[in-house]
């Protein structure tokens, strides 16, 4: 009797442990949501690809499968890709030769004080649920005790919670506020206020992923190209099997002034002098070609990106290439849009004060990506499976039926440039090559080092042994 009671007690205890982990205990859908948005990203691509600032930047994610989790990062700027400030971090360099491709090496640029990418005072906030649910960083207030009284010029806030939900906000008064991590961008890019936010959560059973980024008063190379305002916004929703899904996004660039022309780009159309024509029309192509011809003397050229679905993924996103489009059964929707890509040869006035001497800069103005997914997943292990006989735990992954993108196809204007030397071609989305700067010592140098080392060791040992023999004895 006693043994039976013990066994029953153990059984109840085990069941009590297992029940909370039952995959199908809750009759909810498995859900996913992802967002990313930024207003401007500035990168040097020659002599090596290195980001010097993405601002403002929001990256969010929610997920519910066997449990809920959400995470997010917001920054103005983020240190998420390569760098910010005086040190350029080259993630592909194998400087040391012995620590593989993950080693991050640095190149001192000499532009302003270097900024540690792990600097806790940088206006970048991360959250994770369950875990570090909320964080707010104000710059420069949160740098040190002495900077507490200084009014903030930028801040980032990230809140992750149950639901799951992620809410992100990033703000900066300007990209080149003196003393800020991206102050060195001043000669290359000046902006007015920058804002970005993102919200991901299920709303009345519909997974909703929303992201937005904006910038005002953007000036490239002290006014060679001016953009009055940048608005990037994207929303994706998914209700689940049998329901609805949708995705939409747009990037509006208004009051662009370049080569004496003032125009706007929105909804895949160019508006100039009260005339509107599609970007990929012959009129649109001709307008952009004329514009670039007019800019030739400045060393800059620009191209309009449009929907980003056909782009090869370089270091544009902080994740692997995503699926884009909508599913017919209401379970998935995603879209990605890029704004305008500006390439400029850098004048000596902007680079001579540095030791890095970048030759070209590429500026991506406006980017947004959003994704929502809601599926009923019968994979996984449930308590009932104890009694259900044989079951394959590793069920094949689902294959989504992706419908055509919900926006009309658009030509990437920049793709036309292919006959120029590689140093002049757009590389915004191209994978970056690996640079190796490790140079081993010459064999003669190593032999000399070993010889001198051995001579010194023999001399020191001889000196010490004589002294010890004299003082200590045998």
């Amino acid at each position: 009797m006693k043994r039976t009671l013990s066994l029953a007690g153990i059984f109840i205890f085990l069941v009590a442990i297992v029940i909370p982990f039952d995959a199908r205990a809750a009759s909810q859908l498995d859900i996913d949501g992802e967002t990313e948005a930024f207003a401007v990203r500035v990168e040097y691509d020659i002599p090596l690809p290195a980001s010097i600032g993405t601002e403002p930047h929001v990256i969010g994610e929610i997920r519910r499968t066997f449990g809920e989790n959400s995470k997010g990062l917001s920054g103005a700027p983020t240190n998420f890709t390569a760098v910010t400030g005086g040190d350029v971090y080259d993630p592909w360099a194998g400087v040391n030769g012995n620590d593989g491709p993950l080693k991050v090496s640095t190149v001192q640029t000499g532009i302003g004080p270097p900024v540690d990418p792990h600097n806790p005072g940088l206006p970048t906030a991360e959250c994770f649920y369950p875990g570090n649910a909320s964080k707010t960083v104000s710059f420069p207030r949160d740098l040190r005790a002495e900077t507490k009284p200084i009014p903030p010029t930028s801040y980032a806030n990230a809140i992750c919670g149950a639901g799951p939900s992620t809410q992100l906000t990033a703000y900066s008064a300007s990209d080149d506020v003196p003393g800020s991590p991206t102050a060195s961008l001043g000669p290359i890019l000046h902006t007015g206020p920058l804002e970005a936010d993102s919200m991901l959560q299920p709303v009345h059973g519909v997974v909703t992923s929303n992201a937005r980024a904006s910038a005002h008063d953007v000036k490239v190379l002290d006014g060679v190209i001016r953009i009055g305002s940048v608005e990037a916004e994207g929303v994706s929703t998914a209700e689940g099997p049998g329901g609805k899904d949708s995705t939409t996004g747009h990037i509006a660039l208004t009051n662009i002034t370049a080569a004496g022309q003032t125009f706007s780009v929105a909804e895949d159309e160019i508006t100039v002098a009260n005339q509107r024509f599609p970007i990929d029309s012959s009129a649109g192509q001709a307008f952009l070609e004329n514009l670039n011809n007019g800019l030739a003397g400045t060393g800059c050229k620009l191209s309009v990106m449009g929907p980003a679905s056909p782009y090869p993924q370089g270091f544009l996103l902080s994740r692997k290439p995503p699926a884009l489009g909508t599913a017919k059964d209401g379970t998935f929707a995603a879209s990605m849009y890029g704004g305008m890509l500006i390439l400029c040869d850098l004048p000596h006035a902007a680079t001579d004060p540095t030791t890095f001497t970048p030759q070209r800069v590429q500026i991506l103005v406006g980017f947004v990506y959003s994704m929502a997914r809601a599926v009923k997943d019968d994979a996984g292990f449930g308590t009932g499976d104890f009694f259900a006989g044989t079951k394959t735990f590793n069920t094949p992954s689902r294959t989504l039926t992706i419908a055509a993108p919900p926006v009309k196809p658009s030509t990437v204007v920049a793709a036309k440039v292919d006959t120029a030397p590689i140093s002049q071609q757009p590389q915004a989305f191209a994978p970056s090559g690996r640079t190796i700067r490790y140079k081993p010592l010459a064999m003669s140098t190593r032999i000399a080092l070993i010889a001198i080392g051995i001579v010194l060791l023999i001399a020191a040992t001889n000196f010490a042994s004589r002294r010890l023999k004299e003082l200590v004895g045998s």
């Binding site: 012995n98 302003g112 003393g179 070993i450 080392g453 001579v455 010194l456 001399a459 020191a460 200590v472």
Partner: protein, 350 residues
Amino acid sequence: MTMALDAPKPTLRERFTPRAQGRTQYLSGQVFAGLINALISALFVSAYGITRVSSHRLSPATAATILIAGAAINAFITAIVSFYTGLSDAASGLVTKDGTEKPSPDVDVLSAASLWGRAIAGGLGGAAWGTGLAFLALAALNRRETHFLGLFVGVLVTAGVASITSGLAGNALGVRTGLDLPKAIMPRPARRRAWRDLALPFAIVFGIFAAAFGLLLFHDYHVGAQFSSHVLTEKEILADLPFQVLLITWIANFVLGRAGKAEATLGLVTFEDPERELPNTKSPYGIQAMVWTAVIVLFAGGSLARFILPSYPTLVEVLIARGAFSLVTAFVIGGMAYMRGAVNTTLEQR
């Protein structure tokens, strides 16, 4: 047999109480202690060196510099510390002759020139040993960076071996001098011995080492960057002043306090003004004298440093400030420690 069983078991305190040992046994014990000290020192130096660089990896040149400097500094300091440890223990009867010792040559090994000359020679020997191994390490690293374990092994082999060797030589010389005092060593006036012969060179050495350690600590701080963290500020560089004072007080009291005690025990200290220098109390200088001196140095020196230094000093200003503070502290505390040891021992002998 019964007697042995009935004998009381020695307590922990009794087991660790210093007791008289033969010379060979004493030196063996000192080598063992030196080995423990070398292990701890190597752990400390390599951990500090690694934490002060980005990615916790040291460039070959920096690693070589640490190996060379570590060996030289350790050998230099140990030469002085071990000499006075041996001299003090021999003078107080903790080391006895066991027939293995050699007679002392008739040389004044206590003169300032001889004392500090031996320390410099030890430091140079350590530097040569460290440089030899550093060159071998450079050839092996072949321009690759090194990590904690590599640095720890390197520091242990260079600084550890150098300090143990230098320490053994210093201990042996100190013991020989204490057991067989050369006739060439004459008594010296206490004040001159305390402040000029010992405290001043001791303070200069400490000042240089404090500046070098400041370089290790603050070389990667941002200079003049108001809107950044990890910035060189007056507050940041003076944050560890109490720790510095505590460390210097302890080391100065340990080394120069022992020096005063040993030299007074051997009758090598004279007092120019005994009426004033030797009052009619048994131990006029208690430990409180050192504590209050340290407190005064901390508050007066700290306030002066804060007054002189700008809010955002340069690295050179930081090294000068920290070096000067350590120099003054070591000088004041070191001189006091020697006088305290010499005066108290002389009074106890009366």
